[in-house]
């Protein structure tokens, strides 16, 4: 059965707070700013918001955000689990609520002091006895306890199988950085780097070096989802959700699915891609630009293969041909990505994908962007979404 949500929910407002390394304010403050900014962008009022969607990992209760922003009655709140896997997962929640009439205007938010507060790079510690802690217990005693080390483990094998080299990882990091240079809200605004600097950077977990790893950031992002009918009366061009999918595959673990017959693969993302294409009626050739979750540079490569932009092992050549660049086949992470703009768990990516379809990116490609892809984190239960112009 194919899900029937195509074009039943529309992104009408987006906003990023200022991104920084030390916000100096609470995560709730960031969430409220992001939601209010997106409401303003849409031309809505706080009282129009009747639903929220966010990450299980987010520290801000929906009712706290609602009180802070001055929202009224709420009829829906839903959360999505698995860290960055929840980026389009929270959008998925909002789309289902709007498509079914459970809510009319749902704000999707993610707010974190990811640098000045709890840092992901500090790893897992297993101090609390939960199923999750027991899971990390298979890795912590050995020192495999940071996101970089888990991704490195997959990547080492994937490079071994495909022959893809660090040239491709550099191209992902470099093309992304070139976009960030033009984005005033990007951490690396105005700051270029070259191969020598990339090669000289600190080793984090072989083969991942510093510039293969995303920022740790303070900030928040929000997108507002409503019905097509309502969207047509609002300020911004509507960006319809053509397809949105969540997916986990057999033998899935959080970041450590090392027990599959061949673990240098992301079958969960292939499921998300298949389902998004089915429910949207689109094919890979219809995708004009992308925001591909980039907590680490190589995961962009794996996703290009999972979504069918190229075959297994071909992503290196694909990016080295300039595909991710402004005039390339698939301008990607045009905001600077999480590698160079900020790590807001992928929700800043939904903001950018929306802007690409609206024609409002800081690095808007010259060609028409009728459809943009946006994806969630990799190595975990994940997902993706296909966005397109409303009434296109």
């Amino acid at each position: 059965m194919v899900a029937n949500i195509k074009d039943k929910a529309v992104i009408v407002g987006v906003h990023n707070t200022k991104f920084s390394k030390d916000s100096g304010v609470s995560e709730l403050s960031l969430a409220a700013q992001a939601v209010k900014g997106a409401i303003d962008d849409a031309g809505l009022k706080p009282s129009d918001i009747d639903g929220f969607a966010t990450f299980t990992m987010d520290s801000n209760d929906e009712i706290e955000v609602a009180r802070a922003v001055g929202c009224g009655d709420l009829t829906f709140w839903g959360r999505s689990h698995y860290g960055g896997g929840a980026a389009t997962g929270s959008l998925h929640q909002a789309v289902m609520a709007v498509a079914t009439g459970m809510a009319e205007c749902v704000a999707v938010y993610r707010a974190l002091n990811g640098r000045s507060g709890q840092r992901f790079s500090s790893g897992v510690s297993g101090e609390i006895m939960t199923a999750d802690a027991i899971h990390w217990g298979w890795y912590m005693p050995y020192g495999l306890l940071t996101p970089a080390s888990w991704v490195a483990m997959f990547n080492q094998r994937w490079m071994h199988l495909t022959g893809v080299t660090k040239d491709a990882m550099f191209e992902v990091a470099h093309s992304t950085r070139e976009y960030a240079i033009n984005n005033p809200n990007a951490f690396f605004h105005g700051r270029s780097f070259d191969r020598a600097e990339y090669d000289a950077s600190r080793m984090i977990a072989d083969p991942l070096q510093l510039f293969d790893c995303c920022q740790e950031s303070d900030g928040a992002s929000c997108v507002i989802v409503t019905t097509p009918e309502r969207a047509r009366d609002l300020k911004q061009p509507g960006v319809a959700v053509r397809g949105v999918a969540q997916a986990a595959a057999p033998d899935q673990e959080q970041m450590t699915s090392f027990y599959r017959e061949e673990f240098a693969a992301i079958p969960e993302m292939e499921i998300a891609a298949k389902n998004c294409f089915e429910m949207s009626g689109l094919s890979v050739d219809d995708i004009d630009a992308a925001v591909i979750y980039d907590a680490f540079s190589p995961i962009v490569l794996w996703q290009l293969e999972a979504w069918g932009f190229c075959g297994f092992g071909e992503s290196g050549d694909f990016v080295l041909d300039g595909a991710l660049r402004p005039g390339g086949r698939l301008p990607t992470n045009t905001h600077g990505g999480q590698l160079s703009e900020a790590y807001i768990h992928g929700v800043n990516g939904i903001v950018e994908a929306t802007r690409l379809v609206r024609g409002q990116s800081r690095n808007q490609p010259e060609k028409d962007i009728n459809h943009a892809l946006v994806t969630s984190g990799v190595g975990i239960p994940t997902g993706g979404a296909l966005l397109g112009k409303l009434d296109y």
Binding site: G137, W138, Y139, L144
Partner: protein, 328 residues
């Protein structure tokens, strides 16, 4: 608690100031040579041997001793330290202050309130007999660098007591090693106190579904869970077989013959309690299941996917048993 936090929060500069004061005690004389209150006597020897159950006639039988090569009884050498004990006066009036008590006070004031005698070593040079007088002189011989122990962080110090007789001849020496430490909180409390860092590897929590596996590792074995219904092996353990949904299981012991499927080294950040740049790998065991573990005994650059490895369960730090894999 206040003292403990103070000590744990010592900056490197503060620790240096503290240790400069502490190490100034090395070589300091705790007491200069002084005689015991009583001369060596048959009564105290008899009390001691009765308590110890020592029936050696050389200590207590004057007639036997008269015919021995010594011609007289001797005090048991292990009584060497007995003669100069303060006795009941300590209980009534307390121990007089000396450099050792001053040092202990200073350690107490910085949170090192725990005290544990760790070992005593005596060397005997000359025999003594009733009528002799035992003199003792004692110095603080050495103080260790700051150590992390199972009891808590602390310093070992060793006193050296030299015993001699009324002629100035050395009878023997005694080294007494003491640990002064910051007592660890109970595990339940320390788990919620991130200020207390015990630098051993972070252990897995042990619950219903995984505790048996880690308990076996503590005993030197790596087990693989096996479905009793369809014999399928599974790792990590879980309560139900994904193939046949049976909840009945047993386990087999792995031979720890394996092959590297992938590997990495955690270079940054450095994690307290771990070796530098620990090499982690996904290893396919001969039995067919994969396991994550460490590769040791070779350089990172010598590791490759496909390499054969052999594992054994080892104690990797004070608290942790883990399977570790070596190049086969």
């Amino acid at each position: 608690m206040g003292h403990q936090e103070e000590a744990l929060h010592m900056t490197p500069e503060e620790q240096k100031v503290f240790e400069d004061k502490l190490y100034a005690y090395v070589g300091v004389e705790v007491c200069s040579r002084k005689p015991a209150k009583d001369a060596v006597n048959e009564t105290m020897i008899r009390h001691w041997t009765e308590v110890m159950g020592d029936t050696n006639p050389a200590y207590t039988d004057p007639e036997w001793a008269a015919q021995s090569r010594r011609g007289k009884t001797i005090a048991p050498p292990a009584m060497m330290y007995v003669w100069n004990q303060e006795g009941y006066s300590v209980a009534s009036s307390g121990r007089a202050s000396d450099p050792q008590t001053e040092m202990a006070e200073m350690l107490n004031d910085h949170g090192f309130t725990g005290v544990l005698g760790t070992n005593v070593k005596q060397e005997y040079v000359k025999e003594i007999s009733p009528g002799d007088t035992v003199y003792v002189q004692m110095v603080i011989d050495n103080i260790s660098e700051r150590k992390v122990t199972a009891r808590g962080p602390g310093y070992f110090f060793e006193t050296l007591a030299t015993f001699s007789d009324q002629n100035g001849d050395t009878i023997g020496v005694q080294r007494f090693r003491v640990l002064k430490f910051i007592p660890q909180e109970q595990p339940a409390a320390s788990a919620s106190d991130d200020k207390l860092q015990v630098p051993t590897r972070i252990a897995s929590p042990r619950g219903h579904d995984n505790g048996w596996w880690w308990n076996a590792v503590d005993e030197g074995k790596v087990l693989i869970q096996r479905c009793k219904g369809c014999q399928t092996l599974r790792h990590p353990p879980r309560p139900m077989c994904g193939e046949c949904q049976s909840m009945e299981w047993d386990s087999i012991e792995s031979t720890l013959d394996g092959e590297i499927m992938s590997f990495t080294a955690l270079r940054h950040p450095k994690i307290p309690g771990y070796p530098a740049d620990p090499i982690c790998a996904v290893i396919k065991l001969g039995e067919g299941t994969n396991i994550v573990s460490n590769i040791v005994g070779c350089d990172f650059d010598d590791i490759a996917i496909g390499m054969k490895v052999k594992g054994k369960v080892e104690q990797v730090d004070e608290k942790t048993m883990l399977p570790q894999f070596y190049p086969a």
